[in-house]
């Protein structure tokens, strides 16, 4: 009697030699893969834990300045070059791959208030406390040559910031008022002023290149149009903005770093209410810089930490701090989206990874596939309480932790008081004002 049964030849399933790969026949029938959700959940849990294990973001510290680092500028054409200006008037140019200083020059007597590179990358500008604007070449002087600026402009008032146009040979300085200069002239082509107080920083829009934004010390942010030579509009907040940064991907979005520990992301068309308020710092926010993708930005604060925020979220996704890093004055996100540089007032510039648990270097295809799978698993289960708890957990220095707790208690108390006031008064007498609108005082056209 002939019976048809399964008969397998082991030669079809076992490899012939040790040099071959193992044979892995697959069957995707879900009946052969039970417990798919719990097993994926365990894999996601392991992936989240491993991400925290491999989160080692600190790469290097660039040592060499003899006073606090006041400002930094990125080279537009070279990823491995960065310029920094210190509080003793020194400007240093660093090579990030070798992590050493390749050029030092004494730019000013007093603070170097601002530094910016020209869009072609062949020269850079500095402004300082000695009321001068100096234009330098990016290449150092030849053998035996002295460090001399290409051009020096003497001004009447102290300049506090400088920024260069992204396409044309025009730059803007701010101090008493916002001046727009042509590179060939020694006097500004136009001066823009609105209000009587000093202006702390000015930034050109990288996309709509004729737009400028500036932060003044009478708590307002003013937007200018270079073509019209007039200010466009201004928004008055309840505390002073230290600096602002335009989103490199969205033409009308900019983020401002404020003294009231928050960052405000505005749409320049609708300044009445910010797009998002980013609340996580416990002290004044001193600097902000966008990632080249336009999806995240990094902020440096007077509490000795830097935080990375997504543009659409109100809370930070990452915080970097070290015992040795004191008040962080300036921060930059490199143009390859991978590294963050921060300069602090203890004379060091630190290099961090933008993605703390990322493996740098070339990844083998299997590694890359495994990392993509883990990333997708983490995303899929990110809202489960255990996984969320592990992914969110960051160690904070005691000062920041206790200060944050205190601020939370204060905020809760204020909210409770407002609720009670509303409950025990005539309905409709105290309207609900959204948190976003609370911090804006006025918008003036």
């Amino acid at each position: 009697m002939r019976v048809k049964v399964l008969s397998r030849n082991p030669d079809d399933y076992i490899r012939e030699t040790k040099q071959d790969l193992q044979r892995v026949p697959r069957n995707y029938d879900p009946a052969l893969h039970p417990f798919e959700v719990p097993r994926e959940y365990m894999r996601a849990l392991n992936a989240t834990k491993l991400e925290r294990v491999f989160a080692k973001p600190f790469l290097a510290s660039l040592d060499g300045h003899r006073d606090g680092v006041n400002c930094m500028a990125k080279h537009p054409q070279s990823l491995s070059t960065v310029l920094s200006g210190a509080c003793d008037g020194e400007v240093k140019i660093w090579n990030l791959t070798k992590r050493e200083c390749i050029r030092t020059l004494q730019a000013h007597e007093g603070f170097v208030r601002g530094i910016c590179t020209r869009f072609c990358g062949t020269s850079f500008f500095t402004v300082g406390d000695d009321k001068t604007v100096k234009h330098w070449k990016m290449d150092g002087p030849g053998y035996g040559g002295e460090e001399e600026p290409l051009h020096t402009i003497l001004g009447k008032t102290v300049y506090t910031g400088i920024d260069h146009h992204w396409k044309e040979p025009v730059f803007a300085t701010c101090g008493h008022q916002v001046d727009i200069w042509d590179e060939q002239r020694t006097s500004p082509i136009c001066s823009l002023t609105w209000g009587v107080d000093s202006i702390s920083s000015v930034k050109f829009n990288p996309v709509e290149t004729y737009l400028l934004g500036s932060c003044a010390s009478d708590r307002n942010i003013v937007l200018y149009d270079m073509r019209q030579s007039t200010p466009l509009k201004k928004v008055i907040l309840d505390m002073r903005t230290n600096t602002l940064c335009w989103n490199p991907m969205e033409a009308f979005i900019f983020t401002s770093a404020n003294e009231d520990h928050n960052l405000y992301t505005f749409d320049m068309r609708f300044l009445e209410s910010p797009v998002m308020i980013h609340i996580d710092h416990v002290s004044a926010v001193l600097d902000v810089d966008y990632s080249p993708t336009g999806k995240e930005f990094v902020s440096a604060s007077f509490d000795k930490s830097i935080r990375i925020f997504p543009v659409d979220k109100g809370r930070s996704r990452e915080v970097y701090h070290t015992k040795r890093m004191q008040h962080v004055i300036t921060v930059k996100w490199t143009y390859d989206n991978k590294y963050i540089l921060c300069g602090s007032d203890e004379m060091n510039i630190r290099l961090w990874k933008a993605n703390a648990s990322e493996k740098l270097g070339v990844l083998v295809p299997r590694e890359r596939a495994a990392m993509n799978y883990n990333q997708k698993l983490k995303e899929k289960f990110q809202h489960h309480p255990q996984i969320k708890r592990i992914a969110r957990h960051r160690h904070l220095p005691k000062a920041i932790y206790s200060q944050a707790k205190e601020l939370r208690i204060m905020r809760e108390a204020r909210r409770r008081k407002e609720l009670n006031r509303r409950k025990h008064s005539k309905p409709g007498s105290s309207p609900f004002v959204s948190e976003k609108k609370k911090h804006i005082v006025a918008v003036v056209k």
Binding site: V5, P25, R26, M42, R43, H384, R415, L419, K423
Partner: protein, 412 residues
């Protein structure tokens, strides 16, 4: 193929345990204490020992390197060379054992009515449940959700999870005691046989009976194959659903071999393997179960399986519950938030009609406009609830081939 009687020393063979997991190794245990482990395909003997005690049940653990033997007094764990690794004195009087492979749990049922779970990866006793069901001599496992089925002498079958002290489900299956329980590999069907000589098949999703067969002699052992064939050992015959197979003496143990069309039967004079065409799964998935794996592959698989070990807290009747939205907690959190803030942040703002000129903004026309919007909202709400009621009645349309999910071809 059957092994000659004298080879087993003439002692009646007790439950034979062919591999329920991937490896193609066979474990045989005799009631008088004779235990043998061999590679069934190459017929190479791994070990053959005599534990000098009555053996009530034996089972492989997660790989072919370890097996557990429930002896008269305590539970023992042996290496595949026959070396005794552990003697677990807390597990006394064990009658039946079931190994849950994805949780690394060994569930044991004792003669005093205790159901105990042992985590063999860390060696901890996870749960001890007093079932109050008397002597637990009948045990089965649902491979799809790791729930343990126990059969009792009052005709009920109870379903247990290590997290709950009470049975999750209690089903009255027979009018006498339950003699055997088996669940198929997809977790949809449960077959039970009782002292009332009936063989019943239940749908486990709805806990409803599907079929009922009357057998001349009650079935003492039941086993499902990978492809859904049911084998029952009744008296001195072994019966499949379609055909009859005969052995020489009373079968004492019954199990299908995974990925092969073979049924292994242990009986008083030895072990017999019977050919059952169509019983085994033809295409295995090597990342899941690979009967042809090398030692290296086995070691890698073991490490990965330990990393993915599902904690026992996740054993529930529905294994996919983790993937669903927890609507109750969401509702609770929303209410807490409303209380804390004083207003509902997700509520839609009330409709404010726009101010129009030329007398179109009188009180009456404003009210009319407001009523129009409110009625429209009510209409959409009613329409949605009607659709929800009518949705299960409508036939689902088959999506075009390009849009169907890839695993649809496995749906029956």
């Amino acid at each position: 193929m059957s092994l000659p009687g004298p080879w087993l020393g003439g002692s009646p063979a007790a439950p034979l345990i062919p591999p329920i997991s991937p490896h193609r190794h066979l474990l045989l245990g005799g009631q008088r204490g004779h235990v043998a482990a061999l590679d069934w395909q190459t017929k190479s003997l791994l070990c053959e020992i005599n534990v000098m005690e009555t053996v009530t049940d034996i089972t492989w653990l997660h790989t072919e390197t370890m097996f557990a033997v429930a002896q008269r007094r305590w539970l023992y764990v042996y290496d595949n060379q026959g070396v005794e690794l552990n003697c677990l004195k807390r597990f006394n009087g064990v009658l039946r054992m079931e190994f849950l492979p994805y949780h690394f749990l060994l569930a044991t049922a004792s003669e005093t009515g205790f159901l105990q779970y042992l985590d063999i990866s860390v060696g901890k006793e996870v749960a001890t449940i007093c079932t109050r069901g008397g002597r637990l001599g009948v045990m089965g496992q649902n491979p799809a959700n790791a729930i343990v089925h126990l059969g009792h002498s009052n005709g009920t079958v109870t379903l247990w999870s290590p997290n709950v002290k009470e049975p999750l489900v209690r089903m009255l299956c027979h009018q006498g005691g339950v003699r055997a329980v088996a669940v198929d590999s997809s977790g949809t069907y449960m077959a039970t046989s009782g002292l009332d000589r009936k063989l019943r098949v239940y749908d486990l999703r709805a806990y409803q009976p599907l079929q009922s067969l009357v057998l001349p002699v009650g079935a003492g052992h039941l086993s499902f194959s990978q492809r859904g064939l049911l084998a029952a050992a009744c008296g001195d015959v072994v019966q499949g659903v379609d055909h009859l197979m005969i052995t020489c003496s009373f079968p004492l143990g019954l199990r299908f071999c995974p990925f092969e069309d073979v049924l292994g039967v242990g009986h008083g004079s030895g072990f017999t393997s019977l050919l059952v065409p169509g019983a085994g799964q033809a295409n295995f998935d090597a990342l899941e179960n690979n009967p042809f794996r090398s030692q290296k592959q086995r070691q890698e698989w073991e490490v990965k399986a330990l990393l993915e070990k599902i904690p026992s807290e996740l054993i529930t009747l529905d294994p996919g519950q983790l993937g669903r939205v927890d609507a109750i907690t969401m509702e609770q959190k929303h209410q807490e938030r409303v209380e804390r803030l004083g207003f509902d942040p997700q509520a839609k703002p009330a409709f404010q009609p726009r101010r129009k000129l030329k007398g179109r903004s009188s009180a009456g026309s404003l009210l009319r406009r407001k009523k129009k919007v409110a009625n429209e909202e009510q209409r959409t709400k009613i329409r949605k609830s009607l659709e929800q009621q009518q949705a299960p009645e409508r036939e689902p349309k088959a999506a075009p081939r390009a849009q169907r999910p890839a695993l649809d071809r496995f749906k029956k």
